[in-house]
């Protein structure tokens, strides 16, 4: 076998990772390639293919992590990505990752892959959890029955990873193609269809038997491809045959203790998904998350602030030229520093969300909210996408690819920007901390609640006005609860938070310099370009009571929401007035205007990257303009209500 591996040294090997959602594909991908992709205990983490490189001895292998799929029927966009990759890219090996605790469903996908091609390896993952649950899997028997190599792995403990690497290299040149037989009637139909397909030269690149099976399952894409449409549907019979085959395999290769009563996950779910308690618990958890984000980060932010103040003083002392000192100290250190102060808030928010993901709570939240979402013509699947928006609206919109119903997907894309992303958090912390003191945490919590309310109401409105029809039903496997792993959570937090730091070093740095130039020229203060922009727009904002500084910061905030913070601190950091920029803000702005401003920041035009991803995902500028103008109108209306009501209280 060693010689076999050496013999393919010169060949470039490509391996595709497939599996049901949430079986640990990304964990295996990381283990094979040494990558640090985000892993989460919920389905749908991978929405597009990712490539990494695995090195083993003299071999270099491209490993492609495909989105999770239950079938190769490809009903949603992410499932189609997986199927198209197998068909068009023809990887050397298809590695199917199965869940050791729930092998039956994993084998269902495996059989479909085996119907399509040879060179398949099965990795039965989470073997440690299966053993804990009392299951014993005989990999030799499983391998014998399936006719392909089987490796037992645990991405958590690292068990079987080396064996898997070696098996993958060796399997790249075997070409076992397993077939099992359907009923006589189906087999006869398959033969007939195969003969018809054989005559079509344009289909010679495809496996005829696989195309025939798909035609019997009434697969729309295959019908279009072959030009053959049948008036009978054998999908149920085919599924039954597959399951019978799986049961036969499992009966001889898996031994487990008989399940009595509930396991821990079922017991927890009885309460967590309770029709009344479920929503209350969800609200309580979100409150705790946002309170922690606010309180724990407080001292850490002070430390960073002190460091930046010291840096500003030292660097300021080195530069003799006034304008250059102002650019470096006020523009660069002040502007970027105003954002860096909020790094602890962002990291703690992601840490808390990471814990919720890792434990497996988030899918439960989706389940609990599903009923409410259904009333708004959205499904729990949309909720999962929206939930990702608390991190970044861009990833939220991209994750809608897993929503199979096109109208529902479009509505989710259009309302996603209302979910309060982490970029807006620094603005909340700055303004709420300045104006609402000890109640700042509660104000931030209410902003998050408001973002959910506006999202849901907008979904309802858009559905009512433009789309008719029912949302897709939420069919989602609730993953097992897991004790969160520190490394996994740290990786999650770093991967998400790093994006914020990268922005601080690029777009925010550039924006800070631009803002400084606009504030300093032609004359500093009210004669500056920034003031001109703000004052030109001021008449539009008279009902809201915003000053030119606030208006200009909103304009700059369209580039990235964090820029609002650096803009405000630059504009209000007037050296002619004593006190910090925050003190100055407090003297100029009343609390109800501050709250109204926060609401406006929450709801107004999405940032540039979000608008760009809306264009990419919808393929139309029409929806980009709709999103921008609709959100602006909603922001203005709600902010005005807040200002008026706040003024009356």
């Amino acid at each position: 076998m060693e010689n076999q591996a050496d013999a393919i040294e010169s060949k470039k090997i490509k391996i595709a990772l497939l599996g049901n959602p949430n079986v640990g594909k990304t964990s295996i991908f990381n283990a094979l390639t040494g990558s640090r992709q985000i892993v989460a205990n919920w389905p749908g983490v991978t929405v597009e293919k990712r490539t990494g490189v695995m090195k083993l001895a003299n071999h270099t292998v491209d490993v492609v992590d495909l989105p999770g799929t239950y079938t190769l029927g490809a009903t949603s966009l992410d499932e189609r990505i997986a199927r198209d990759f197998l068909i068009n890219e023809r990887p050397d090996v298809a590695l199917v990752i199965g869940d050791a605790v729930n092998l039956e469903r994993s084998l269902y996908l495996l059989l479909q892959v085996l119907e399509l091609r040879g060179d398949v390896v099965l990795a039965v993952n989470a073997i440690d959890e299966a053993r804990k649950a009392g299951f014993e899997i005989d990999k030799h028997e499983l391998s014998k029955q399936l006719g392909i190599p089987v490796v037992l792995t645990s991405a958590v403990t690292g068990e079987g990873i080396e064996e898997l690497k070696n098996t993958l290299i060796k399997s790249a040149r075997s070409s076992s193609h397993v077939h099992y037989l359907f009923t006589d009637e189906i087999e006869a139909s398959l033969r007939n269809l195969s003969d018809r397909i054989k005559g079509n030269a344009s289909l010679s690149a495809f496996d005829q038997r696989w195309l025939s099976i798909k035609l019997l399952e009434r697969d729309k894409e295959v019908e279009k491809l072959t030009g053959i449409s049948l008036d009978y549907d054998y999908s149920i019979e085919i599924a039954e045959t597959r399951y019978k085959y799986i049961k036969r395999i499992l009966s001889s290769s898996v031994k487990g203790k008989e399940k009595i009563g509930w396991n821990l996950s079922e017991a927890i779910d009885h309460v967590m998904t309770h029709k009344f308690l479920g929503i209350l618990i969800f609200l309580a958890i979100m409150y705790i998350v946002f309170q922690l984000t606010f309180t724990i980060s407080g001292p850490l932010s002070i430390m960073i602030e002190n460091l930046l103040d010291g840096l500003g003083s030292v660097v300021g002392g080195w530069i003799a030229i006034d304008w250059l000192r102002s650019l470096v100290v006020d523009g660069v250190i002040g502007g970027v520093g105003a954002i860096l102060v909020f790094v602890p808030n962002i990291f703690i928010l992601f840490l808390a969300l990471g814990v919720l993901e890792e434990t497996g709570y988030l899918p439960r939240a989706a389940f609990v909210i599903d009923k409410l979402m259904y009333a708004m013509k959205l499904s729990g699947r949309s909720f999962i996408s929206l939930l990702l928006g608390f991190g970044c609206n861009v990833s939220s919109i991209m994750s809608t690819r897993s929503i199979s119903e096109p109208k529902e997907r479009l509505v989710t894309i259009l309302v996603s920007p209302f979910i309060s992303c982490s970029a807006r958090l620094p603005v909340y912390v700055l303004i709420a901390g300045t104006f609402f003191g000890v109640n700042a945490g509660i104000v931030v919590f209410f902003l998050y609640l408001l973002s959910i309310v506006i999202t849901v109401l907008s979904a309802l409105l858009i559905n009512k006005l433009f789309f008719k029809g029912e949302p897709s039903t939420l069919i989602m496997e609730l993953p097992r609860y897991r004790k969160p792993r520190l490394t996994s959570i740290m990786l999650y937090t770093w991967n998400k938070g790093r994006h914020f730091l990268e922005k601080a070093g690029t777009i925010i740095l550039a924006a800070s310099i631009v803002i400084w130039i606009l504030t300093y020229f032609p004359t500093e203060g009210t004669g500056s370009f920034a003031a001109t922009i703000g004052k030109a727009l001021e008449p539009l904002f008279v009902p809201l009571g915003y000053t030119w500084e606030m208006i200009t910061s909103l304009v700059f905030g369209i580039a990235a929401k964090e820029v609002i913070v650096s803009s405000l601190t630059t504009f209000f950091g007037n050296p002619g007035v004593s006190g910090t920029s925050l003190d100055i803000m407090r003297t100029i702005i009343s609390p109800e205007i501050a709250l109204s401003f926060l609401v406006f920041v929450l709801l107004y035009v999405p940032c540039m990257p979000t608008l760009a991803v809306i264009k990419n995902e919808t393929g139309s500028y029409k929806f980009v303009f709709f999103s921008a103008f609709y959100s602006l109108a909603v922001a203005y209306a709600v902010a005005l209500i807040v200002r008026v009501v706040g003024g009356l209280l």
């Binding site: 009595i260 009563g261 509930w262 396991n263 821990l264 017991a267 927890i268 009885h270 309460v271 967590m272 309770h274 009344f276 308690l277 209350l280 618990i281 609200l283 309580a284 409150y287 705790i288 309170q291 922690l292 309180t295 724990i296 980060s297 407080g298 001292p299 002070i302 430390m303 002190n306 509660i442 919590f445």
Partner: protein, 131 residues
Amino acid sequence: MKERVITFWLLFGGTLLATLSVNSFFGLLLTKREPFLAMIAGINSAIYFLGLAEKRSDLRKRYSHLLVGSFFSYVLSIYQVLVLFSIWLEGLLTSTCLLAFDEMNLPLIISGFALSFLFDFAKKQFETNNL
């Protein structure tokens, strides 16, 4: 655990958290007024009390309320400790002592840690497949 004993613990947990909720809401004993924390404690209390609404004969459903309720109490006490830690750290950085007895909400912290033993017990019942 017998049915009557589970009923006792559900009643005990529910009443304790309801009392702590009222305490936090009005800021009565060793705590400042914290209406939102009071609401969270109220939800925790409801987890226990709704366990009593389950059929007496269905022990596993009652146990699951005890399991989640006691874990939630434990999480609340950890949350409170984290808040205290950050207040202490902030005081350290600004050279002022910000900690006060009222900030601590000691009854909530102590109850949460005490109820964690109940959580451990309930967890074992499910892990050993007794239910």
